[in-house]
């Protein structure tokens, strides 16, 4: 069953059609790649799926229900979490607080319990902290939990962003160029990590990535975007041999 189904999404900025007739279907548990040249509309597609932009036309169904008109926080609460191409951490806060914040909408204690520090407050705060630290351990960041997020090296900031997205306990995770700025070794580790968390957390993952080789290696299916439209989709093997893709995106690289 499809967990996410987008049908004929379009987004127009002024005169520019950033995304047009974008249709995509993600099955539960899939790891799918979204590739395309610079400015193809990949990030815009993410912004449509997460409610940052409202589509000019088209339909989005998540878990069988339309998400059109919902605000980003409502879509996240339904189970879609994401990372950003240009990292958006809570940069002045500690690594631990970054992750803790993402538990927010699962927390049950109210304002009064917070202010009086009674009821579920202590118990839940303890749980949040423990779970956040566990997540940081998975991403090898637990010994940096008290550091200010902006002081982390680039690769670690990217990992922290994924850890934070997971704290929201999503069903679908959207990763916008998670390996950008990482060295080849870090990238390799990250991809193993992504495969692993998909299994461990029972996720569906949609991944934007520039590095073709990398996408081919980890993704089960791939969509190719050019000038806002999907020009091809299929298994890595099919994409590799699709003449339209070779022409539009790969150029001579594949030869």
């Amino acid at each position: 069953m499809a967990i996410l189904k987008a049908t004929k999404l379009s987004k127009v900025f002024g005169g520019l059609k950033a995304v047009s007739d974008f249709s995509i279907e993600l099955g539960k548990g899939e790891l799918i790649g979204l590739i395309g040249p610079n400015g193809a509309g990949k990030t815009t597609a993410f912004n449509l799926l997460t409610g940052v932009y409202q589509p000019t036309s088209g339909e989005i169904d998540f878990d069988g229900k339309s998400t059109i008109g919902l605000k980003p926080f409502q879509i996240t609460q339904k189970g879609v979490a994401r990372t950003f191409q240009n990292i958006r951490l809570f940069s002045e806060l500690s690594v631990l607080d970054n992750v803790k914040i993402a538990y927010h909408f699962h927390v049950k204690y109210g304002i009064l319990e917070s202010v009086l520090r009674m009821g579920r407050y202590h118990q839940e705060e303890k749980e949040i902290e423990e779970r956040a630290i566990k997540l940081l351990e998975i991403f090898k960041l637990s010994d940096k939990k008290d550091e200010i997020a902006k002081n982390l090296p680039y690769g670690e900031q990217r990992r922290l962003e994924i850890a934070r997205a997971l704290a929201a306990q999503p069903k679908l995770l959207l990763l916008d160029e998670p390996a950008a700025g990482m060295n080849p070794q870090e990238t390799q580790q990250l991809m193993q990590m992504i495969k692993w968390i998909k299994k461990e957390f029972d996720l569906t993952i949609l991944l934007i990535e520039h590095d073709m080789q990398l996408v081919m290696n980890v993704c089960e299916r791939i969509y190719v975007l050019e000038y806002g439209s999907i020009i091809a989709q299929g298994t890595p093997e099919e994409i590799k041999n699709n003449p339209r893709v070779i022409e539009a995106y790969l150029g001579e690289e594949v030869e």
């Binding site: 997460t50 940052v52 605000k71 980003p72 926080f73 996240t76 609460q77 979490a81 994401r82 950003f84 958006r88 951490l89 809570f90 940069s91 002045e92 806060l93 607080d97 803790k100 914040i101 993402a102 538990y103 927010h104 909408f105 927390v107 204690y109 304002i111 917070s114 202010v115 009086l116 520090r117 407050y121 202590h122 839940e124 705060e125 949040i128 934070r164 997205a165 704290a167 929201a168």
Partner: protein, 319 residues
């Protein structure tokens, strides 16, 4: 466990401080001049800490705090003078009215960003003041006179401690973290499932309610509520305290409130100098320490431990 102990310690320290000051007041060791300043410090702490919740922690730039203070000052006076209700009802009523107004005003204005929000809150503060100015029932331009002096050190101190504990505990909860995440990155906050509009309005409402409490305490100390007490200059005073102490630091706001109340008292006979000195102070601050005296740090036992040579360092890691 360690946390509860610290809470208790802080509470005992407050009571001890209160007992000593109250004792000195009763023995007349602290005369009327210092008593006045003590009360003003407390009221300024309430105003600054509550504005810090909006400006410092949630990152919304409001400069109309005096307007909410005016609502508390006047409504409280109506409740005690016209309706003969007890002081506690006036305080709660002042808080509720200011908070309600904050809520109503916050809903539309908090959609605005940065400079626009600042201008809108500045305008709204003035609108509140001018509206009051034109209501004869509360004295119009000559002010609401004949308010009984119900405020004393006890009331004001309790209200201050309550404010500080309330806002500190709020900040150290998932709700406070939601507010802080808006300051840090609103888009990321939304992406983490935080209803940013709700939390902005909540911070604004809570901040306004506490400004209302400060207003009620204020008018019931000075026998009068006068529109001239709640102009933009008052909002600017409060903002100066918050910025000086550090946006996002409660201890900073408290320290700066004490400091600036004294500066203001020392310059009482030269009012024209006060604004110049405030402005110079802000300029120097922006040049040398733009994050304010405390940045977004709090004074904690940890820091004291470090200053004392750090032999207790291991004990404070719990938080």
């Amino acid at each position: 466990m360690g946390n509860n102990k610290k809470e208790l310690l802080a509470f005992v320290a407050c009571i001890a401080f209160y007992a000593v000051v109250q004792g000195l007041l009763m023995l007349d060791v602290i005369g009327p001049f210092w008593e006045l300043n003590l009360i003003l410090i407390c009221i300024n702490v309430i105003l600054a800490v509550s504005l810090n919740l909006i400006n410092g922690f949630t990152g919304q730039f409001s400069i109309g705090h005096a307007g909410f203070m005016a609502v508390g000052a006047y409504l409280g006076a109506v409740l005690t003078v016209k309706l003969q209700l007890p002081f506690i009802v006036a305080i709660l009523g002042g808080a509720a009215a200011a908070g309600f107004l904050g809520f109503i005003i916050g809903l539309p204005t908090l959609r605005l960003d940065g400079d626009y929000l600042a201008i809108a809150t500045l305008g709204l503060g003035e609108i509140i003041r001018i509206t009051i100015l034109n209501i004869p029932y509360v004295g119009g331009a000559s002010g609401f006179m004949g308010i009984p002096r119900y405020s004393n050190f006890t009331w004001v101190f309790i209200a201050t401690v309550f404010t500080v504990f309330f806002i500190r505990n709020f900040i150290n909860s998932t709700h406070g973290r939601a507010c802080i995440s808006i300051r840090e990155n609103q888009i990321a906050a939304e992406a983490m499932g935080i209803d940013t509009t709700k939390y902005k309005v909540m911070a604004f409402t809570i901040g306004a309610a506490f400004a209302g409490i400060a207003g009620t305490l204020f008018s019931h100390y000075f026998y009068i509520a006068h529109p001239a007490s709640f102009t933009f200059m008052k909002s600017f005073d409060i903002l100066t305290i918050v910025v000086l102490g550090g946006l996002g630091s409660i201890s900073g706001s408290i320290t700066a409130a004490i400091l600036l109340t004294f500066v203001s008292a020392a310059l009482a006979s030269y009012p024209e100098w006060r604004m110049i000195i405030y402005s110079l102070m802000l300029i120097v601050l922006m040049l040398y320490r733009p994050q304010g005296l405390f940045g977004n740090k709090e004074i904690s036992l940890k820091i004291f431990g470090r200053l004392m040579g750090g032999n207790k360092r291991g004990n404070t890691q719990g938080n």
